[in-house]
Amino acid sequence: MTLLRRHLAGVLVLGIPLAWIVIFMLVPYAIIGTYSFWTKTYPTFQPDFQFGNYATLFTDPQYLQVLLRTLKISALVSVASLALAYPFAYWLVFRCRSAGVRTWLYMAVIAPLWVSYLLRAYIWKTILGTEGILNSFLMWAGFTDAPSDIFLYNQFAMILTLTYIFIPFMVMPIYTALERIPPNLAEASADLGQTPWQTFRKVTLPLSTPGIAAGFTLTFCLSFGDFIAPFLVGGPDGNLIAGVIQTQFGSALNWPLGSALSIVMLVIVLSIVSLSDRLERSSRIGAH
């Protein structure tokens, strides 16, 4: 009886999450994977096993073009987030004297995550638009005479919006990594005659690599799969891979091609995750 009860508890605690993962993660992957080998035939598509959809993705330049653009945008978003988040997190952990100020500033970065993503992206439209807040300010301050249309509906607007939206995912892991570094390491380094810059380069930076890797992975993968920013603030040259997948499942009614594209995207994201995982692990080994 007790054995059964213990068994039941085990089934519930482990079984439900396991079933969840199988039903909502693995089965959909398998379905998408299966579809990717099917053939499109008007009006829909039929079961098949052929690699034509994958071949199309690599021979028709439009898919590679969008894929490269998406990689570029995601990389720029990650780099911009890192450039802003690292100094900020560094200052919070090592330079900010007041614990209260530190908590408040940290919360200020995290707080926007509680506001709807759609709303935050939409607000950038009203800031960057031709008759928007930024243009009104520039004209009021006398920097420009006429409103400019260079801020909205282009790749710059997408990178800005995505950086703003995903930057908390860069700040959080870097902050955590920096906070974990014992302060006496920097003192020891200084005692051994290293300059602050050498200490940063040889001690702090290597020890915070796992945080950078985690932040980079998060911001990169989130931007990589985004389709709201191109829709709201992107211009005619702002088509990203998620939008193309949406088109294949929607207007083009070509689920097999859309599935093949999803699988390619999944492979790219998984490679980045495993790469960052390896980087994180090797830096941890190096630290010991």
Binding site: G129, Y153, G250, S251, L253
Partner: protein, 345 residues
């Protein structure tokens, strides 16, 4: 205890009949089930109308393919109705049960997209043009041609509908007027024209609301439009836009009601169809969306002479001048693929 039970029983019996009168679930465009005329229908018929809106004709197939039993009626446009028949998700109409069927303009009943093997699958409902539109205060000489959307002087002030119809627009600009039967070479030329236009485009608009926002925010001054709809929304915002049919002509569309296969709510569905084809529905949609009516007799009866003229109800030449959307069938992929390639650039 016993009294509670009796009371509950009595209550459920009383509630029973209202319940049984049923509902009708429609997948349609915004405005087609507007409260201004649907509220009265619900009261008269006892059928509750539950509406889900689509943003594009592309939404019908994915929604219906992911399993039936959810919707009873749909309203795809005439370029998508044949796809619904091909997909096998709709059933033939009992036109004898539709009062007013014979008052529909013959031109619409002749359209192939709504019939198959001698049976009708679609009930014409409303129609209009994919006209072009410009902001009045931005032009001294009014634009008259599609070529004005390629004018470098308007760089950054142009918008175009994010739809395969962009290919139709570019083909007409190139002088290829058989827009629904373009050859591969003609589609290639249309694609090249759209790529050439791309640096001038501020944003491709995807929804009616988005185009209204683009004009409102001063981002664009010229675009194509669903005639009657966005212009009236903009007029309500105090922005004066003028619709025009370019010298290269405009596409025309017609929306049709279709009954989803094996709907359990057939009775309510037919009551609903009859209402939509009557003055109540025909003028309802004309007043809400600014679209023209298909029922000639109803339009004559419920529209003012001004509205009747404004919606081109008395003008068969206008209708004939439009390139009415035609199902592309097997060629569908070539068109969408070309448009996707333009967007990918």
């Amino acid at each position: 205890m016993k009294r509670t039970l009796t009371a509950t029983l009595a209550l459920s019996l009383a509630a029973g009949p209202v319940w049984a009168e049923g509902t009708v679930n429609v997948l349609t465009w915004e405005g087609y089930t507007d409260a201004s005329f649907i509220a009265k229908f619900e009261e008269d018929s006892g059928c509750k109308v539950s509406a889900t809106y689509v943003g594009s004709n592309d939404d019908f197939a994915p929604k219906l393919m992911s399993g039936g039993g959810v919707y009873d009626l749909i309203t795809p446009s005439i370029d998508t109705t044949a796809l619904m028949i091909d997909l096998g998700v709709v059933e033939p109409l009992d036109t004898a049960a539709l009062a007013g069927w014979n008052d529909i303009y013959p031109k619409f009943l002749a359209l192939e997209g709504i019939q198959r093997d001698g049976a009708y699958y679609g009930m014409p409902y409303s129609w209009g043009a994919i006209a072009f539109m410009y902001r009045k205060d931005a032009f001294t000489t009014p634009p008259t041609s599609i070529a004005d959307l390629w004018n470098p002087e308007l760089a950054g002030k142009i918008s175009l509908w994010d739809d395969k119809s962009a290919i139709y627009v570019a083909a007409r600009k190139n002088g290829d007027m058989d827009i629904y039967n373009l050859t591969d070479a003609q589609i290639e030329n249309a694609k090249a024209a759209l790529v050439e236009q791309k640096p001038l485009v501020r944003k491709y608009w995807a929804t009616a609301g988005e185009l209204v926002d683009l004009y409102k925010a001063g981002e664009v001054v010229i675009s194509n439009t669903w005639a009657g709809y966005q212009s009236s929304l903009l007029a309500a915002e105090g922005i004066e836009v003028v619709e025009f049919i370019p010298t290269e002509g405009a596409e025309g569309w017609m929306d049709a009601w279709m009954v989803v296969k094996e709907t359990p709510n057939k009775e309510c569905a037919y009551k609903f169809l009859n209402m939509q084809l009557s003055e109540q529905g025909q003028c309802g949609v004309a007043n809400v969306n600014g679209y023209s009516a298909v029922n000639a007799a109803a339009a004559k009866a419920c529209m003012s002479p001004e509205q009747f003229a404004a919606l081109h109800q008395d003008d068969p030449d206008y209708l004939d001048s439009l390139f009415i959307w035609t199902p592309l069938g097997e060629r569908f992929e070539a068109y969408t693929n070309a448009w996707n390639a333009v967007k990918a650039q």
